[in-house]
């Protein structure tokens, strides 16, 4: 029995290693905000969502398979959450079934396995009931297959047969234990005995008047002997206990997989609800093969920013089909970093099989998504900033492949403009030549102007807008790079005066 809700005929591996650069990606795209929304406080959901986001498939067919299952989930959230709840509950309940003092004793294993099996059968009956009453309302390939399997494999005859076995296996051996207590109440010199020793009533007569000795009466609970007894009496039932325990493990595996694969959709449901509450749009994107290098979106926005703000945020329209370089320039605080994040998140969410934070999106899948963002000073002091940036870019170069997407945020701004531009220019040329698409946010005017002057149709230039009065619209428009970033506006905003418009504020007493 397989869940197969993530791939048409494959289990989802929640333990798989994230691809190279995943840590940087998580940080640069503020993925934690999205993961928080998907997890809704549940660490398990978070773990699955994280793996699935970072390891999204690169083929449109799987993406569409998942989109269908997610559409079903959005249409019937209560049913899907109920199935998930059953899986979660049963796994939780299994864990709560106490192994006993000595988990290696066959009778303990047997006793526990019977209890676990009863729990599992009850849960499987619930799944059957849900399949019976709701299967008709689902139309995705994934759910249709799942419900058909439940109905076929878990017939009434099957349940009846299992119940019979479990009743018979509820045999318990009459094991009797005896041991003496050693110094400090530590069990020493345990002797295994067949009959249960009758300890009460064997009171010892104490010599009266002798105060050179005192007697202490202690509890007669004797755990060590019980363990020893199990060792002897357990041999006969060892084999059957083992078989039943292994079967229980197999069923537990099914529930675990079901929980994992549904967690993926529950996470998407959670995020959808949260995003809907902000008023931002969501769409099922159209995944395309890598060849066309497509990326076109309407009202594309940063879902993490929307989730943080709790209100709709400015979206951007982008039409970058067939473009190998999107260069974003313009005003500080004009929404450039936000836009870059929205591109990266849209790509990740699409490949996960989720909706995207946009009114519409059609995009080529990418083989890998990499980010190269400016970093804080290296706390380990092993390198200077440019050195560190180059080392990271070299790392990316070692892993990136044709058909990948690279997001750069103010890369190579840690050296001066002329040299930063030259380094970036050479890297961009090589990357684009190798079939890698690059979105590049930069203040390097020298670089941006140089790229703009190139007679190439495969580059798109966006600029953060700025009103004549200096206010930002947080909207990007197609436009050529301009030679200033309006730092003077920010300066005026913070220090309360335009440059040269008067003396700076005096400090008290200085």
């Amino acid at each position: 029995m397989k869940a197969y809700l993530m791939y048409p005929a494959r289990d989802f591996d929640a333990e798989q290693e994230p691809p190279p650069g995943a840590a940087a990606l998580t940080r640069d795209l503020e993925l934690d905000t999205l993961l928080d929304a998907m997890a809704a406080g549940d660490d398990f959901l978070r773990g699955v969502a994280r793996t699935a986001l970072l390891c999204g498939p690169a083929d449109p067919d799987t993406i569409i398979y998942r989109q269908q299952v997610l559409r079903d989930s959005l249409a019937k959230p209560a049913v899907v959450r109920e199935i998930y709840g059953i899986a979660v509950q049963v796994i939780l309940a299994e864990r709560r079934i106490w192994w006993g003092i000595g988990s290696q004793y066959p009778e303990t294993i047997l006793h526990r396995s019977v209890e676990v099996m009863q729990l599992f059968m009850a849960a499987l009956k619930l799944l059957r009931r849900i399949a019976d009453s709701h299967a008709g309302g689902f139309c995705s390939d994934g759910f249709t297959r799942f419900f058909t399997m439940i109905t076929k494999e878990l017939g009434d005859d099957y349940f009846a047969a299992v119940d019979g076995h479990l009743r018979r296996l509820k045999f318990s051996g009459g094991v009797l234990v005896s041991a003496s207590l050693g110094a400090g109440n530590a069990g020493t010199g345990h002797v295994l005995r067949t009959p249960r020793p009758a300890r009460r009533g064997l009171a010892e007569v104490i010599g009266v008047g002798n105060r050179s000795a005192y007697t202490l009466t202690i509890s007669d609970r004797d755990e060590a002997g019980a363990r020893a007894l199990s060792e002897l009496s357990g041999r006969g039932i060892n084999h059957v206990a083992n078989a039943l325990a292994q079967s229980a493990d197999h069923i537990l595996g099914f529930f675990r997989l079901l929980r994992t694969e549904l967690a993926f959709y529950i996470g998407a449901l959670n995020a959808h609800e949260r995003l809907a509450a902000t008023g931002g749009p969501a769409c099922f994107p159209e995944p395309l093969p890598p060849a066309g290098a497509a990326f076109s979106a309407a009202s594309l926005y940063d879902p993490c920013l929307a989730l943080t703000a709790g209100t709709p945020v400015t979206g951007n329209d982008v039409s970058a089909d067939g473009v190998s370089l999107v260069m974003i320039t313009g005003a500080n605080q004009g929404g450039k970093s936000t836009f870059l994040r929205s591109v990266g998140l849209a790509q990740l969410m699409m490949q996960y099989g989720m909706f995207a934070a946009a009114a519409a999106l059609r995009a080529s899948v990418c083989r890998g998504l990499f980010t190269h963002y400016k970093r804080e000073e290296d706390a380990t002091m092993t390198s200077g900033k440019l050195d560190e940036e180059l080392a990271r870019m070299s790392d990316i170069a070692a892993h990136i492949t044709p058909g990948s997407l690279l997001l750069c945020n103010e890369s190579f701004a840690s050296t001066n403009e002329r040299e930063g531009s030259e380094i970036a220019r050479q890297i961009l040329r090589a990357m684009r030549g190798a079939g890698i698409r690059v979105f590049f946010v930069t203040h390097l005017y020298d670089l941006a102007r140089g790229c703009y002057a190139e007679p190439s149709a495969s580059a798109l230039f966006l600029r953060a807008e700025r009103q004549p009065d200096g206010r930002r619209t947080f909207r990007l428009a197609v436009g050529e790079p301009l030679p200033t970033s309006h730092g003077q506006d920010v300066y005026a905003d913070v220090f309360g005066a335009r440059a040269g418009a008067g003396p700076p504020p005096q400090k008290d007493g200085s």
């Binding site: 300890r199 400016k374 170069a397 930063g420 990357m431 200085s510």
Partner: protein, 510 residues
Amino acid sequence: MFHSILFGDTPPAADLDSRPEPPFFHDLNLDQVTAWVTAGLGDYRLEPFFYTPLAAPGEISYRHEVFGDLAGEALLERVRAFAAGMRRVREELATARKLHYPRQRQRWFLESAATYCDAVTGLAADLRGAAITSRGFLGIREYLAGYVASDGFATLTAETTGLRADLAGVCYSMHIKGNRIRVRKYEGEDDYSEEVLAVFEKFRQGTVKDYRVRYPATQDMNHVEAGVLNLVAKLYPDEFAALDRYCERHAGYLDDTIARFDREIQFYLAYLAHIRPLQAAGLPFCFPRVSARSRQIRAEATFDLALALKLARDGEAVVTNDFHLGEGERVLVVTGPNQGGKTTLARTFGQLHHLARLGCPVPGRGAALYLCDEVYTHFEKEEDLATLSGKLHDDLVRFRDILDRATASSVIVMNEIFTSTTLDDAVFLGREMLAKIARIGALCVCVTFLDELASLDPACVSMVATVAPDNPAVRTYLVVRKPADGLAYAAALAARYGLGYDQLKGRLAS
């Protein structure tokens, strides 16, 4: 009367122990220094001492003298032995506090007092003949001499010794049968352990897993052991009555001044323990001349302490540098190639000024430093989505905060500011900031890629990180006083990482 080995007769502020880490610690990597120096010494709560600068040159020389005495290996060893004794006292007292049964607690308390008497008597004897000249050590010597000669201490020592001997004479035997334990004075019975083992040996069954429950060694006592102990106490009433009385009488045996000395001397020991290996590796430390008036500062063959501690662990060499500010000079502007040691020099400048006002030996062959009122740092921070504002804005806001608080007596360290904006903006903003700092009159070091700032003001002094003349890609980490020359050698660095166009093209094709 002697008060404190750290603060002499000037008690520190009452809030000493609740002080947070100063804001500049992280930027200057002083948080790392503090963490390394205090590692494993958590009980002493030394961090506040590193956070709390001294305000007067006299207080600084008080510590210099103590450090001077501790340069002798013999004294250092004796103080360490005392500290080890006091640590055991605390452990034994902690054990006494956490245990449940009164008679357990009493015995641990007695042991702690014995350890305390030994440690104090030992240190008093050690100091009697020691060659010490510092006010601090002369003070504690005199104090200890008086303390060990006092009636109170003599009584404590005598009673401790006597009672321990009496308790060592207590011996009892337990006869355990069924659920009863019979306790009597030890009467010379034979050891039955071997015989018992032999009796039960024949019950062993081939190679099986060991199901015996292991009873971990623990100080905790279960109720049975405690019950036995109570019976033993009945058998030896005089000894246990004496123990009762002892604990009541000596409850507060720990002397405040000695306990304070024990904590505070760790500041010296911990710092010395970390600079000793550096000194052994040839790196100089010196007692700086610290002036509250002269702003003409200098340091020869100095270095970044955090970096040196790290490199020393990795067995790597440390490059030392000189800097000075003469009459009318207040701002060091450091330019030059990336990874050339600029930031390191800036950190060194800041660290030295803080270490100087802690009264510590500072890195360098010789140094004259200014007793500043506060150190401020402005290092680049990563973008934070939560603030929903742009990086440049944040940078400027942090700048304004610094400028609002800094005085002519402050030290300001600025590292690579305004790299997120264009060259034009960066020059404009850099000029504005430096002009404001020059007006305040604070001592400042400014690391920048903007050569223009180096000659901005007569108070500015240009320093340049140098490269090896024969290979521009090789950094020397030497930062020297000379005019800014605009060389950054970034492209050579890029080539080192295989990120030149031709190199990268080849890598991406493979």
